[in-house]
């Protein structure tokens, strides 16, 4: 064995692995608590979220004058327990948020990869639709779709998926275009790999990170959109307890100063969205340094 062979025995340490950065515990905890509430809502919630006692209308939270421990966070305009509705509302937001994000993410990622890698007319068709749909403000587009299909939780998921897949497609395609020019993709062709193999083995794993980062950031957007749709009355149909719907109801007591009906559901939305964004930001730095500037 000559010198040129035996050259490399010392490995530098993991060059690219950076310091283990602290996990964002606060947002993870918040999301975990909300998830637990959503899963065990039936057990945890003290009252039926959909049935109210008219005699108990507009009860303030327990610590205010006139409040009672029976309704820790007070009651709404038809006497329903706010705490129970918030707990069940977490379920709605979680289910709608996650399914819509995953639905949009899968569709968008797949189409983005196909458009980016195959190019040609496939790319033209997918990207022209993407561009035109991106031109529409997401909220109004969703309202339009909701006006056509009518409100239901299932429809909301489909609508949000239809509206938001374009974001993934755009980002993923852009990334694929640059991946496609990477030498390791060229070498895979030289090695005789088929297009399917290349997309599966060399392209997909390298865009998954961006897709996941985008998904966490989209989770917040989707939840806000769902709340807005429900607030406008084209989202989750009453009397289901969605946070957006609660805000719309809460507006009825606003001028009378029944603050808890407005503040509390909003705080829930904010906490959830904030947590999703914080985790998304952290993931972005962690998984994909190129996206830091996004």
């Amino acid at each position: 064995m000559n010198a040129s062979r035996a050259a490399v025995l010392a490995f530098p340490g993991r060059l690219a692995s950076f310091r283990r950065e602290g996990w964002p515990m606060v947002p993870i905890t918040i999301l975990a608590v909300l998830a637990l509430l959503a899963i065990f809502a039936d057990v945890i919630a003290p009252h039926d979220p959909q049935v109210g006692l008219l005699g108990e209308r507009f009860r303030p939270p327990a610590w205010q004058q006139g409040g009672s421990t029976a309704h820790l966070l007070g009651t709404d305009h038809v006497g329903r327990d706010v705490l129970s509705r918030l707990i069940f509302g977490a379920r709605v937001s979680m289910v709608v948020g996650f399914t819509a994000v995953i639905f949009a993410g899968v569709v968008g990622t797949v189409l983005g990869i196909l458009a980016g890698y195959l190019g040609g007319w496939v790319d033209q068709v997918i990207m022209r639709v993407t561009d035109a749909w991106l031109a529409l403000p997401a909220l109004t587009f969703a309202i339009f779709l909701a006006a056509i299909v009518g409100p239901s939780e299932m429809n909301i998921v489909i609508i949000l998926g239809l509206v938001y897949w374009t974001r993934y497609a755009r980002v993923v395609r852009g990334e694929v275009l640059s991946l496609k020019e990477r030498d390791y993709v060229r070498l895979a062709i030289v090695a005789g790999c088929s297009k399917r193999t290349i997309m599966r083995r060399h392209i997909l794993p390298n865009v998954v990170n961006s897709a996941i980062v985008l998904a966490t950031l989209m989770l917040g957007v989707v939840i806000v959109t769902e709340a807005a749709l429900s607030f406008l009355g084209v989202g989750v149909p009453p009397p289901k307890p969605a946070w957006g719907l609660m805000l719309a109801d809460g507006k009825k007591g606003l001028m009378a100063g029944y603050w808890w009906l407005t503040v509390l559901p909003g705080v829930c939305i904010m906490l959830m969205v904030l947590s999703a964004n914080l985790i998304g930001d952290w993931l972005r730095v962690k998984l994909d340094p190129q996206l830091r500037q996004l």
Partner: protein, 326 residues
């Protein structure tokens, strides 16, 4: 101190470290570096990636990134220690008495301002020349770097000019205030061979015309051979050998320098084996103890792994840090 005796630039024991965000990791990018440079001389600083040569250049101008700090040493430029200067005082030195050309001259021009504006800017700031006067001088400077039709070019935006012209313009900016020292940090790595030759001959012309001292920072020994009077070889943040170019190429004292010179293929003698240096350049954040080169050194002694060799004179102006000569 009389200006005639002191060298133009004397760097003594310069040490610059990078400290990671939490202060847990220290990268000794530049460690105890000393050299001098006289008026009109050309010094080549050679090193591989991670050897600390760019950090050295930025330390000289005191334009280090926030994570880096010069923690020891002195930089005497025209008799004054730059390390004790305030930011405002430094501004009067940068661009006026000491200029620098960056790695990517093509990206160094601001896309939104005209050539005339950018070339004349140092004059307006440092010498208070009027807008019109700066414009006039910019035109002369473009002529000085051999750009044809300077009257039209001053009005152009950078993207309207070819790559070669943009490099010349960066050269024009560097000499606009008549500096005494020009630092060029790998100014030709991104260039094609023939374009590189153009740029090198332009730099040499400017140097002769203006009587500039020049520091050339590069990984390429060929550039040093062509351009420089003196050379300093860096490895692991330290200067391992320095001296006149002919001496270093003729009789290199440090095993690293010798291996580097021998590892380059030479035109005309093909088919022989090249002398390769084993192993990899060290990670600047985790330098080996003793002499940083010892794990790769073909002539290492036992003490090389333990003790750091001292800087020793091995000839007229020729110094090296190696136990073979200690």
């Amino acid at each position: 101190m009389s200006e005639t005796d002191a060298p133009l630039l004397a760097v003594e024991g310069l040490t610059t470290h990078y400290v990671s965000a939490r202060g847990t990791r220290v990268t000794r990018a530049v460690e105890d570096v000393s050299f001098t440079l006289g008026d009109g001389e050309t010094l080549g600083i050679v090193g591989e990636s991670g050897s600390g040569k760019t950090t050295l250049a930025l330390s000289l101008l005191r334009l280090l990134p926030p994570a880096a700090r010069t923690i020891a040493g002195a930089i005497r430029f025209e008799g004054e220690n730059l390390l004790t200067k305030s930011e405002a005082e430094l501004r009067h030195i940068r661009g006026k008495r000491m200029a620098m050309i960056l790695q990517d001259p093509m990206a160094s021009l601001n896309p939104l301002f005209t050539i005339g504006d950018q070339v004349g800017e140092p004059l307006r700031v440092h010498e208070g020349v009027s807008r019109r006067g700066a414009w006039e001088r910019a035109r002369e400077l473009l002529g000085a770097v051999r750009i044809s039709a300077p009257d039209a070019r001053v009005r152009n935006y950078p993207h309207e000019l070819s790559g070669g012209m943009r490099q010349r313009i960066v050269g024009a900016i560097a000499i606009s205030c008549g500096p005494r020292l020009l630092i060029a940090d790998e100014p030709t790595t991104s260039l094609d061979v023939t374009i590189q030759a153009q740029y090198l001959s332009l730099l040499r012309e400017l140097q002769r015309a203006q009587g500039l001292a020049l520091i050339f920072i590069t990984h390429n020994l060929g550039i040093v051979a062509r351009m420089c009077d003196k050379v300093a070889v860096m490895y692991g943040g330290r200067i391992v050998e320095s001296g006149p170019v002919r001496r270093i190429f003729g009789a290199p004292a440090h095993p690293y320098t010798r291996a580097l010179i021998e590892s380059i293929p030479k035109l005309g003698d093909s088919n022989g084996r090249l002398t390769a240096i084993d192993g990899q350049p060290p990670d600047p954040a985790a330098l080996p103890g003793g002499c940083a080169f010892h794990p790769r050194c073909p002539a290492r002694l036992e003490r090389c792994a333990v003790d750091r060799p001292h800087d020793t004179a091995v000839g007229d102006e020729h110094r090296t840090a190696c136990w073979l000569h200690g």
